[in-house]
């Protein structure tokens, strides 16, 4: 059929799509209603601020593992891992899977965090109590900047996904997915986030198995190899420079993301005692095969003769093409779930960080739990609106947008890790490490490529933290971290003594 007569032709990105916009809208509507209803249902459990922010600190192993895994299976896994494979080949695919080490190495940290700060709320709390106000402000700038870039990359991914599969305009797709996640996070807080994450994990796992089997049956391994060898030879080259650089860059970016972000700290605080370590280890191993599978399907795109108009669209395009129209529904569902499960977590944790660390600590220390929840809701809405506005111009590919934050987060690895384990670590080392690491990493990002920013940032930060700490050691009293939240004190005073 001549292209001009084809009913399914997307004139925004000029990419042919798989299901009709009508089917896309129906799916989008059903999934949106499902998550909002479930979010409101689970949100009824959140009676206090501690319930809203930390799900009552009572999350068990199954829900704990599911929420960690679902949050890490973000658009970055399902859409960025295939982009890595398409741009950087086999090494790119393996580079992305090193992200599992972020969760695995955070497992002992989760245990330590829970032991040191049984009443903690945010990662900002730790930095403030451990290093003092100047380091805390610098950390908040980095953490909020990163959270916002992650949010943008996922909003963009939502728009790209719906456009690639169903031809729904990019702007509308982005607005809908942000709107849905803002709505149910608003009503349910972390209870809603963890509850929906659990179902989303189950759906993602089922979907990934279906897609994996379908792709494996549809492609001929020998053909994939010979087509790549002929048309994209560097993707099979074991010495591809950018791909080799990306291995440790991605690993260190993943470590930086997990070590510093309140998304992971809030889960460490929310899980029951002794659950955190196991949950993070199980989630890390469960996540490991997903980017490998997602990356593999991108390598198959050449032999399947699929034209990729933008590298971040390759994952959903190949999966949907192989599965056909009926299977595209599965693909749509899996990708929507992977996006929603991370967007909600990020909205909730960033809002917590701003509410707790900026509003309560800096602006209104005597705010009641009710007032804090109101402020937190306003921040969730504000984040959604601002993210949408930044997403609309589609400033770059997912990789370039997300990895711009790489130098910043990688420079926090050593200040966080030494802060948790090394009594001599101090504010001078932490500040110097974060600033020099960020600056050096950003220079590498622009001069060498996005696949070097986090690597250089983490390396410089590590050296500076070690040198400054040895030169000017301090002796920290770990008990300083045992801070009790004012709302908890008032709750304890108000409840009758047994």
């Amino acid at each position: 059929m001549a292209p001009e007569n084809r009913p399914e032709f997307n004139n925004m990105t000029h990419q042919s799509y798989i299901i009709s916009p009508e089917t896309g809208w129906i799916l989008l509507g059903l999934l949106s209603v499902l998550w909002i209803v479930l979010g409101i249902y689970w949100g009824k459990k959140a009676k206090s601020m501690e319930g809203y922010m930390l799900a009552g600190r009572n999350v068990g192993l199954a829900f704990g593992m599911a929420t960690v895994m679902a949050t890490w299976v973000t658009s970055n896994t399902t859409m960025l891992a295939p982009q890595f494979a398409l741009e950087l080949g086999v090494w790119g695919m393996l580079a992305y899977s090193t992200g599992a080490l972020g969760l695995l190495l955070f497992a002992p940290l989760a245990k330590r965090i829970r032991a040191l700060m049984p009443n903690g709320y945010t990662s900002g709390d730790f930095i403030r109590l451990r290093y003092g106000k100047p380091t805390w402000i610098l950390f908040l700038i980095i953490s909020i900047f990163y959270g916002f870039f992650w949010l943008i990359s996922m909003g963009m991914a939502g728009g790209i996904l719906m456009n690639a599969i169903a031809g729904i305009p990019y702007e509308i797709g982005t607005a809908v997915i942000l709107g849905v996640c803002v709505t149910y996070t608003l009503f349910g807080g972390l209870y809603a986030v963890i509850g929906t994450d659990y179902i989303q994990t189950v759906l993602i796992m089922i979907g990934v198995v279906i897609i994996g089997i379908a792709v494996f049956q549809a492609v001929d391994m020998e053909k994939i190899y010979s087509t790549l060898q002929e048309e994209r030879p560097m993707l099979l080259n074991a010495l591809m420079p950018a791909a080799l650089m990306a291995v440790f860059n991605n690993l260190l970016f993943g470590l930086g993301e997990v070590f510093h972000s309140n998304v992971w700290w809030s889960r460490a605080f929310a899980m029951r005692d002794k659950v955190g370590k196991k949950a993070y280890i199980l989630a890390g191993f469960s996540w490991l095969p997903i980017p490998v599978a997602a990356g593999f399907i991108a390598l198959a795109s050449t032999s399947l003769d699929i034209n990729v108009t933008s590298p971040d669209m390759v994952g959903p395009l190949v999966a949907a093409s192989v599965l056909g129209k009926a299977g595209a529904v599965v693909v749509f569902m899996v990708f929507f779930c992977s996006l929603a499960s991370s967007l909600d977590s990020l909205l909730a944790s960033t809002a917590d960080l701003i509410t707790e660390d900026i509003y309560r600590k800096m602006i209104n220390p005597s705010a009641s739990g009710k007032k804090l929840r109101k402020v937190s809701s306003g921040i969730v809405i504000g984040l959604g609106v601002v993210a949408l506005l930044v997403c609309l111009p589609r400033i770059g590919t997912l990789a370039t947008v997300l990895f711009f934050a790489g130098p910043l987060v990688a420079s926090t690895i050593w200040p966080i890790a030494t802060g948790l384990y090394w009594r001599k670590a101090n504010a001078r080392g932490a500040i110097a490490g974060m600033i020099t690491g960020t600056v050096a990493g950003l220079i590498a990002y622009f001069q060498l490529g996005w696949y070097t920013g986090a690597l250089v940032g983490a390396s410089v930060s590590m050296i500076v933290v070690i040198v400054v700490t040895w030169a000017t050691p301090s002796s920290f009293n770990w008990k300083t971290l045992h801070e009790i939240h004012p709302e908890k004190i008032s709750d304890e005073n108000a409840s009758p003594k047994s």
């Binding site: 990105t13 000029h14 245990k111 950018a242 260190l252 108009t309 384990y421 690597l455």
Partner: protein, 153 residues
Amino acid sequence: MTFLYPNVQINHRVIFFLLMLMVAPAVGAGQQIELSSSKSGLSRDGHVRLQWAVTDGSSGNVFLVQQAETEAFSTPRIIYHGPDQATFISGLENGNYYFRVRRENGDWSNVMALEVNHHSLYLTFILLSIGAVVFLLTAAMVIYGSRKSARIQ
């Protein structure tokens, strides 16, 4: 040349430039597709995204994209044939590449030249080694710190 104001001189190069501006639209009239790329002539990672736009406002076309290793397109390879108006190319080895696009039976677009020059292996292995050392030291510190704190508890 002296204009109304005796002190104002107009250089002959300025006149040539103004004449070229007037003639330019007529020169480009035959070219109806504009090809652009995501890289400004140099790629350090072997990939590039090509995008093209139809400048005469018509729609519904089938496009043909060619890639060659010489500017004369002596041994071209068709890398895309279809309705999309962008394509992503990756896995290119070191070398010079040239791209052009046309509608079926139409005129060729402008030629996009791309030099692929991967980073040196020397720099690669330095960064790889640094990354490995940073990761191993971080992992060692976390594992050692966890064991030590568990013993103390």
